[in-house]
């Protein structure tokens, strides 16, 4: 089958499903291997950059989803209702950032970092679908491990966890350095 037709099919799949669709499933449907399928989709993503296109395809871990372009937003909200979004307070954001960067993580670890009980915050994040249980830690008491969801990636426009702003431990080192620089600076003044 020509590549154009395959692109048309993939577009139809992503449009119809609305939700994110796993690469594996798309590959099976168009009867191509995953590598080729991914290449075709990436190619489509480039073509969606054209001004006359209102949608784009985003990659979330190993799935793809179709969504509108940011530029269309101001016109869109004249017609479409923005799905109600809960406001994330600083407490929730702080807890979320710990879970995002340290996942999988137990409530106890979160509380150790924040210095306060975090049941309420974790529960709210689970309720909002941004965080979920990802398993249990294999230690006595088997505490629940938490991680972020696909909805988290969507909501924060992050394609994958690797793409989180400055996820690595280097950030800690950098902070330390900054603090040192600051102290240095003050000394010099």
């Amino acid at each position: 089958m020509e590549i154009e037709k395959l692109q048309g099919i993939i577009e139809a799949i992503l449009f119809t499903m609305g939700d994110s669709v796993e690469l594996e499933k798309i590959a099976l449907a168009i009867e191509h291997d995953e590598k080729t399928t991914r290449k075709i989709i990436h190619n489509m993503m480039d073509r969606y950059n054209n001004a006359d296109r209102g949608m784009r395809i985003i990659e979330l871990e190993n799935s793809f989803q179709m969504c509108t372009k940011q530029e269309a937003y101001e016109y869109l909200i004249r017609i479409a209702k923005q799905p109600k979004k809960f406001v994330l307070t600083d407490v929730l954001l702080e807890t979320l950032s710990i879970i995002a960067y340290k996942q999988p993580v137990t409530k106890l670890e979160i509380e150790k970092i924040r210095g306060v009980k975090s049941d309420f915050a974790v529960n709210k994040l689970v309720e909002y679908g941004l965080v979920e249980e990802v398993g249990r830690m294999n230690v006595p008491g088997r505490p629940i491990l938490f991680g972020t969801t696909e909805e988290f990636l969507r909501r924060f426009s992050v394609q994958s966890l690797d793409e989180l702003p400055g996820i690595n431990q280097e950030q800690v080192a950098q902070f330390q350095e900054e603090a040192e620089d600051e102290a240095q600076l003050r000394l010099e003044i």
Binding site: G18, C67, I98, V116, R154, V158, G166, A183, R186
Partner: protein, 248 residues
């Protein structure tokens, strides 16, 4: 330092400490612990917080600060490599870590603003297509699950909940002063062991209605074990403790 009339709300002790450090323009690696402790104490004294849980978190940090303050006054501790240890080090690391996640939270917030401008579409799957959706394959889903396994899981879940409750302490109501002698308890536990032969340690403690009774019962168990009248076993860490009578 005067305390502002309207106190800022802090998320927790670390949040308050970071605020004080920032406000005083202090080097985080060289916190003047005496001064900061004083300011911190002034703040929590002014806090009108009735919630004991919240308050205890702030008080715990106050205790840590006071501990550091004391250690700063004592001769420097030296670690295995012969280096001097700064009593503040652990706190500094905790503060830095917390500060980093706070910063990342702001980064996330920026991202969220972009993310909000994107809209999705709900599925519009044609009926003809929907008809083909396979039902849940229960054979596969329940493959290696049986009732025994499910029961084990249930027991584990319930035990976890019990552990959280602390079966002993949650039963303390008022503590009344009363005389409990070890001799009395020795007789009691011996009789109990004679009747039940093999029983759960937790169960025995549950029959005791005050802290003092529990403590003395515990001592009695230790004594009976020493003289070989009972045997104690615990299969796994945090598992149930079983007591067996050795007296025929």
């Amino acid at each position: 330092m005067g305390i502002p009339v309207k106190l800022q709300v802090f998320e927790g002790p670390l949040d308050l400490l970071l605020y004080l450090i920032d406000k005083n323009k202090i080097d985080i690696y060289d916190i003047p612990i005496v001064e900061i402790t004083n300011q911190y104490m002034e703040y929590i004294r002014a806090m009108q917080e009735d919630d004991l849980d919240v308050m205890s978190e702030f008080l715990l940090m106050a205790a840590t600060l006071l501990d550091i303050k004391c250690r700063m006054l004592l001769p420097k501790e030296v670690n295995e490599e012969g280096e001097e240890e700064d009593p503040r080090q652990e706190l500094v690391e905790q503060l830095l870590q917390y500060k980093m996640y706070k910063f990342m939270a702001y980064e996330l917030k920026d991202r969220e603003i972009d993310g909000q401008k994107v809209m999705y579409k709900s599925p519009t799957i044609p009926k003809e297509v929907l008809e083909y959706a396979p039902p849940v394959n229960l054979d596969e889903l329940l493959a290696d699950l049986n009732l025994r396994k499910l029961n084990q899981i249930y027991k584990e879940v319930m035990r976890r909940q019990d552990d959280k409750l602390d079966p002993v302490r949650s039963k303390f109501g008022t503590i009344e002063k009363e005389e409990v002698t070890l001799t009395d308890k020795l007789t009691y536990v011996e009789e109990y062991a004679g009747i039940h032969r093999r029983f759960n340690f937790r169960k025995l403690l549950e029959t005791q209605h005050s802290k003092l009774h529990i403590v003395v019962t515990f001592l009695a168990i230790l004594e009976l074990m020493k003289i070989g009248k009972i045997q104690i076993e615990q299969e796994s860490t945090f598992g149930e403790i079983m007591i067996t009578s050795m007296v025929e």
